[in-house]
Symmetry: C2
Subunit: 364 residues, 2 copies
């Protein structure tokens, strides 16, 4: 049997630092659990642009299509802000999502007990929070045509198109219902059906899929603006939230911030099953490239480590091993180890990025 294959794309800013810690975990699995991954590393984002003049080289794209799972760090930085839209670091990430057809973006927003004080929300509002946002990731206004900046008479006009087909909505709705069955059995779908026809269709199709295939799951609908409010007011009312690409972008970031510890949150982007039965998959932390702290040993590697745990669970069907990694993370937190983003309490032990990685390996 061949080893499972991983493509690692550390990217920009703190990406390489946090990914270096994940490499330690991967090595540990090879040495101690007889799970060896064939790892290749490559460039994405600003560093790919620096080398190739494009944020994602065609060869890298081809590799991503072949491996069992892609692990990405983060992309972007002020150095690239002035670049033309078409070669911005983000385009590399968006191309991966689109060409791998990773339509279901899973973004858990979990509040770690040891860190509940970090939230700007009251402790009782967030302690024990555990919601899953399922964001459609390959369509909507991110990719719709026509798009661009055109001239209309004397004026420039900026245009983007939100476009959702029935099957695009149905497949991500299925992902949400499937997940809900393994969790709290509740899905809340969010759109602006009161204002947008694409939202009207979204609501219709989610309802149809529910009635035909998942009548046992509890389904509710909410306008996305009310959703933003309710997430802020009492987030524990939700179990699984399913929403489109753009609303999902805002709402998942909002949900992440509720937990108070952005440096802790992983994500999985999943597509259709490949020939080997594994879904196309890309895993990445929710946080960005944080150029302001890059290279200083301040970055928290946990989000990236937990993204690898998601890979174990969703790509390699190793739920128990995923839980092992998650428990190791909980243990080091309970032991009081904290990277720079989590300092502030009394009696904790400040650690660097690499010290945190080493501690997690030790806890495994």
């Amino acid at each position: 049997m061949t080893n499972p294959s991983l493509l690692i794309l550390p990217g920009d800013g703190i990406g390489p630092e946090v990914m270096a810690e994940v490499r330690k975990i991967i090595d540990w699995f090879g040495a101690k659990r007889d799970m060896t991954f064939d790892v290749t590393e490559d460039l994405v984002g600003g560093c790919a642009y620096d080398k190739h003049g494009t944020p994602l080289h065609d060869d890298t794209m081809a590799k991503a299509q072949e491996v069992d799972a892609v692990l990405l760090g983060a992309v972007g930085g002020p150095k690239y802000d002035a670049l033309d839209f078409s070669v911005k670091p983000e385009r590399g990430l968006l191309r991966l999502r689109k060409e791998m057809d990773l339509y279901a973006n899973l973004r858990p927003a979990q509040c770690f007990d040891a860190l509940a004080d970090f939230s700007s929300l009251k402790k009782d509002v967030v302690a024990g929070l555990d919601i899953m946002i399922v964001r459609e990731l390959t369509s909507g206004i991110y990719f719709g045509e026509p798009r661009g900046i055109i001239k209309d008479g004397n004026e420039r006009v900026g245009i983007n198109t939100q476009r959702y087909t029935e099957s695009e909505i149905a497949r991500v709705a299925r992902s949400a219902f499937e997940l809900a069955r393994k969790r709290g059995n509740k899905v809340c779908s969010m759109e602006k059906a009161n204002v947008m026809e694409s939202g009207v269709l979204w609501r219709e199709v989610v309802t149809e899929v529910h009635q035909a295939e998942y009548p046992d799951v509890e389904l509710s609908h909410m306008y996305a603006d009310a959703g933003a409010m309710q997430l802020t007011r009492w987030p524990k009312q939700f179990d699984v939230i399913v929403t489109d690409n753009l609303f999902g972008d805002l709402l998942s970031d909002l949900a992440a911030m509720l937990t108070g510890s952005l440096g802790m949150l992983p994500s999985a982007s999943l597509g259709a099953p490949m020939a080997n039965g594994r879904p196309k998959a890309l895993y990445e932390p929710v946080h960005g490239s944080a150029p302001d702290i890059a290279g200083q040993g301040k970055a928290n590697p946990i989000a990236c480590v937990l993204s690898f745990a998601m890979a174990l669970r969703y790509s390699f069907d190793q739920g128990a091993e995923a839980a092992r990694v998650e428990s190791a993370v909980e243990k080091v937190l309970a032991d009081g180890l904290r990277t720079a983003d989590l300092l502030g309490e009394e009696g904790v032990t400040p650690v660097s990025t690499t010290e945190m990685g080493d501690a997690i390996v030790a806890a495994l």
Copy 2:
């Protein structure tokens, strides 16, 4: 000299109840301050649909164009959920905004000291909060064409178009800069320029207007997802936020919820100056029609009362009289009067909608 004219559109749900209290304030101004308004009342939303088969009759639209200011309660309710998109209650509101060309929607998010405990956020995060969201209100994906649900082969496809012209962006940017000069002199503009070309144009035009006309104001830019995060993390970093119609919808609701007292927040929607120099204007509370509590005397009339205060300030140049209304509201809160939405603390006095209105009049 003729009296200033007001068109009052109570709308659905709690709209009529809260507007009845505003009528008392308006009457007080006639009797005690020699400021008599010529008031007409009419229908909008579900009640207009019930009577006319349309959520906004052409005659009502014509009146709205003629008066000095429109005061609206709220629209919508479950009774109308199944209506066709084109006659939903919301279409009445959207038609008013569009045909009156009310491009600048001012949504203050203020945290009242007496109510800071109501927020789901920690007190130090929200106490003293005072930000102003300026939302573009007549363009973007709310109104762009093409739109609708079409058939593509066997599939339904939902389509909406985000479309912003240079002049649409420039005029709302000017509104934001003007407001900032009277406040903290800071504007943060939010879009998704990393993903959407309409966001790229938005950022360019805001920057051009800033450099050419408002170099004295401090301008920053933020991606809208990061904006949602930062509003949650530390909202006091902001003074004025300017953003598009859809992002503004979500972000202003989020900001409103931070304050913990949605029943307190007014809004103004302003257009170009009319022949008499006054801007076209519509004022409405941020809260919705709350059909679940309608008709029970539980609604908080303060948001609607403060919307009238905004009318005094922005339409009738009566800043001192607006402040008088605002002080009266602060006084009744300091006296411990609370409508049903604000109960929970010790030692407060529960009051009904009408009792709250009467108390504000008494405090004037």
